[in-house]
């Protein structure tokens, strides 16, 4: 029988294995980018740097019973009766349930805390900008000052105190005793700057979305997650990224970001209205000579038949002015096997566009399709700039 107190400060096993776990989390994230890319927690993160994302691949698989089909024993407060409902099953994706009565086993996947920047780095690893052009904007230089040198003389406001103290101690040490004090002029060190010229690159994303009656919550969400990553990605490549938001049904108008993602409208669809507005905006504000232009359009493809001709014509015009024109056609949730053949804009575009080099059309039926779509838009392809 004894009481002991040992030094445990060298005990690291838990921490070491925690690192192993972290490695597994990273690996799992890499493998699950498809579902993470469109995860609500990230898309709606609203500036937060880290978010929690459920990662299925980290489950410890065992042979176990189907919790939902089993009978369980619980304990009440003395007044329970047959027929009492003690908890409700939480639906997948609708946040946390009431967390009662052993429901936990049903939702026991691992929630990893992830850093959005890290995820972004993983996602962007495979992406690149097609037809990136050195635009004339290069002529516009900006001056930047960089403090990158240390000198013995300078403006007293730029005194580098830390270095000064170090020098002082060093000098005192040379003279016999390392200490701080008795500062002389030779101890002083100053930071000095250099002027650097920088060339800025500019890009504008013209985000267009169909807000006609047929575009539901899910479709908007898909468009939103796509734009989320696209804007983030472009910001890593260009110094300035402007985004113009255009929403349209039968008419198009320029809207704010918030309106763009939340507004619901109704009515029919005239796609050409949006393209016309985009062309107008480009003409007025974003000279193709100066700007890299990326128009993207999301719709369910349900355009008025009579407008298709015009839409194709304007799309061709857009393509001629921009780096890459993207068109995403969003299907009904969960209808991945279902493809509409006629009437849909995607097939019309792929048949009739003159200039298909710079056109990318994708079909998205599922959240998981967002990542492949991103890859398709920004995948590796002809990087050379056609004359």
């Amino acid at each position: 029988m004894s009481i002991q107190r040992n030094d445990w400060s060298l005990q690291r096993k838990g921490i070491i294995d925690q690192e192993r776990h972290k490695d597994r989390v990273k690996e799992a994230i890499r493998k699950n980018l498809g579902s993470i890319v469109s995860n609500e927690a990230i898309i709606l993160s609203d500036g937060k740097r880290t978010v929690k994302v459920p990662i299925r691949a980290l489950d410890e698989y065992k042979f176990r019973f189907n919790h939902q089909k089993g009978k369980h024993v619980g304990q009440g407060d003395g007044k329970t009766r047959v027929g009492d409902v003690i908890a409700r099953e939480s639906r997948p994706g609708s946040g946390s349930g009431s967390g009662q009565a052993g429901q936990d086993a049903g939702a026991d996947y691992y929630e990893a805390e992830v850093n959005i920047d890290e995820i972004a780095a993983l996602i962007f690893e495979d992406l690149q900008l097609p037809y990136l052009q050195e635009k004339a904007k290069k002529a516009v230089q900006s001056r930047k000052t960089q403090f990158n040198e240390i000198r013995r003389t300078g403006v007293i406001a730029n005194l580098d105190k830390r270095r000064m103290i170090l020098e002082n101690i060093r000098r005192n040490a040379r003279e016999g005793k390392a200490r701080f004090g008795d500062i002389k002029k030779e101890d002083l060190r100053f930071k000095t700057w250099e002027e650097v010229m920088r060339y800025e690159s500019n890009a504008v994303v013209i985000a267009m979305i169909d807000v006609s009656g047929s575009m539901g919550e899910f479709k908007k969400y898909i468009a939103r997650s796509f734009y989320f990553w696209m804007v983030r990605f472009l910001r890593t490549k260009y110094d300035n990224v402007d985004i113009v938001f255009i929403s349209h049904h039968t008419e198009a108008k320029e809207v704010t970001e918030e309106q763009f993602f939340t507004q619901g409208e109704s009515g029919g669809t005239v796609v050409s209205s949006a393209y016309q507005l985009a062309l107008d905006i480009i003409k007025q504000r974003y000279r193709p000579a100066d700007w890299n232009i990326y128009p993207f359009h999301f719709s369910d493809g349900d355009n008025y038949y009579s407008d298709n001709e015009e839409a194709v014509k304007l799309a061709d015009e857009l393509i001629a002015t921009c780096n890459l024109f993207g068109y995403g056609e969003i299907g009904e949730e969960g209808s991945s096997s279902y493809r509409r053949s006629s009437g849909a804009l995607l097939s019309i575009f792929s048949d009739r566009l003159q200039n298909k080099d710079r056109f990318v059309g994708v079909r998205i039926d599922d959240k998981e399709d967002v990542y492949p779509a991103l890859k398709q838009f920004f995948g590796r392809r002809g990087v050379e700039t056609p004359a």
Partner: protein, 477 residues
């Protein structure tokens, strides 16, 4: 913690020990360690100090520590079933918390020592797991960390599927006994110096060899085999020696943990009964009494909706004592109980039962009612609803959920299925279906261990179904 406090705690340990013996408890000598939270959570997440490395332990550790850091939950004690036993005390515990923990730990240690399900437990397990860790590390060094880790992922996926009565088999195995007889003279490294008489050894080997050719036929005769881990270790067509060794290590550690899994409710109930009684015997100030009462009620309070094993075990033990102290007229007439045998009966129960038999034999109608136990299930995939309150049904459901420590009962029925060395497992369906998503993934792990196609027979929607996995794709029919 200051030396003064440690001195005080030492005194308390001696006092508690004496009180425990007076009550009739019979624990192993127990050493207590005062540790910081990080160590507490480490021991807690590995269940034994010094085990091999695996990311799942790191995950558990991280979760426990985070819960602690955010003040969501706290472990007060960890106890290790060895001889002498170890109790870990959190350095931030208050003196009264520590006293209660010490008393509680002695209750556990008494249970470990005396409950029959622990009678075959290796009481030097800490040493064993640290040699396992050493070996596992060597394998990581030789074969790569990733390789060993992936392999362990698969082994751990089926670690619960061992035979709790494995030791019986081990004892009756004639071949094994022969093999050991043959090995015995070589127990020590230099033992062979004692009988340099080579001829004698050769003669012995010759005597043993005819049996070993027959041994090859044996696996098929012994089917069905509940111990998947053991069966795969012995018979898998694809494993390297180090992999079989790794399985053996995991198996040995599971053998050690199985009795604890089998007696969770009893063990906690027993420890709670005794910490309460021992504490009442100590000289506590009024303040200490109040603090203790708070702590104690925290441990044994019912949690709404859930079953608290501490509380359930505690109540049943109390009930046993009462019923054998003051038997009803019916009990006296029917069973010839004379009364005042409560204490004796409690000790008998702690010696002979496990959770399943404990509940089946001693959960009474009155207790079910008092505890307000019920059966609940998911109705129309939406609402968890109470569907049964008749006490016998409740009891039977509880017992059935505890069977095989709450895991599906699987058996190997054929190790040469299709005449092609494929592995055929069978789930002994007893009314609850498998989680198929998990089942398929776990089957992939089995395939990884077996190295050839694997099959699992189970029941889905009341129809017998066989899940197949051939290494590339799943199928079922």
């Amino acid at each position: 913690m200051e030396d003064r406090e440690i001195k005080e705690l030492e005194k308390a340990v001696e006092q508690i020990w004496e009180v425990a013996l007076r009550f009739g408890l019979d624990p192993y000598p127990t050493n207590f360690e005062i540790v910081p939270a990080t160590v507490m959570y480490e021991v807690g997440s590995y269940a034994l100090p010094g085990r091999y490395s695996h990311w799942t332990f790191g995950k558990a550790y991280h979760r426990m520590k985070t819960m602690y850091d955010f003040g969501l939950s706290k472990i007060y004690e960890v106890v290790i079933n060895t001889n002498p036993a170890y109790g870990f005390l959190l350095e931030t515990n208050s003196p009264i918390q520590n006293k209660m923990v010490i008393a509680h730990v002695l209750g556990h240690v008494d249970f470990f020592k005396n409950n029959t399900y622990f009678s075959k437990t290796n009481r030097r397990m800490v040493e064993s797991v640290s040699t396992h860790a050493q070996r596992m590390m060597e394998y990581e060094f030789k074969h790569g960390r990733k390789t060993v880790e992936r392999f362990l992922d698969s082994v751990l996926a089926i670690e619960e599927h061992i035979d709790p009565y494995f030791f019986i088999k081990r004892e009756i195995s004639v071949d094994e006994a022969k093999r050991r007889a043959e090995l015995r003279p070589r127990d020590g490294r230099y033992d062979d110096l004692w009988h340099l008489d080579k001829a004698e050894r050769e003669a012995r080997a010759a005597a043993a060899s005819p049996a070993s050719t027959e041994e090859k036929e044996r696996p098929r005769e012994r089917l069905p085999e509940k111990d998947l881990l053991f069966y795969i270790m012995k018979n898998s067509p694809s494993l390297a020696p180090w992999q079989r060794d790794a399985i053996a290590m995991v198996h040995e550690e599971m053998e050690y943990f199985v009795p604890q899994m089998q007696t969770k409710i009893m063990n906690e109930g027993w420890a709670s009964i005794w910490h309460a009684r021992i504490m009442r015997e100590l000289d506590l100030s009024d303040n200490e009494h109040i603090e203790f009462a708070n702590l104690h009620s925290g441990v044994v309070s019912p949690q709404k909706g859930q079953l608290n094993p501490y509380y359930l075990g505690y109540k049943i033990f109390e009930d046993i004592e009462r019923r054998w102290n003051e038997p009803s007229q019916e009990e006296t007439e029917k069973f010839g109980r004379v009364g005042n045998e409560g204490r004796e009966k409690m000790f008998e129960v702690r010696e002979l039962e496990n959770d399943v038999s404990f509940l089946r034999n001693y959960l009474t109608e009155e207790l079910c009612e008092e505890l307000d136990l019920f059966v609940f299930e998911l109705v129309e995939e939406e609402e968890w609803t109470i569907t049964e309150k008749r006490w016998e049904k409740v009891r039977d459901q509880l017992v059935s959920n505890m069977t095989n420590f709450g895991f599906p009962y699987l058996e190997v029925v054929d190790g040469d299925y299709n005449g092609n060395r494929e592995l055929y497992l069978k789930h002994r369906y007893e009314g609850t279906e498998l989680d198929l998503r998990y089942g398929r993934k776990a089957l992939e792990h089995v395939h990884m261990l077996w190295g050839r196609p694997v099959h699992l027979e189970t029941v889905i929607d009341e129809e017998t179904t066989v899940l197949h996995f051939n290494g590339d794709e799943h199928a079922e029919d």
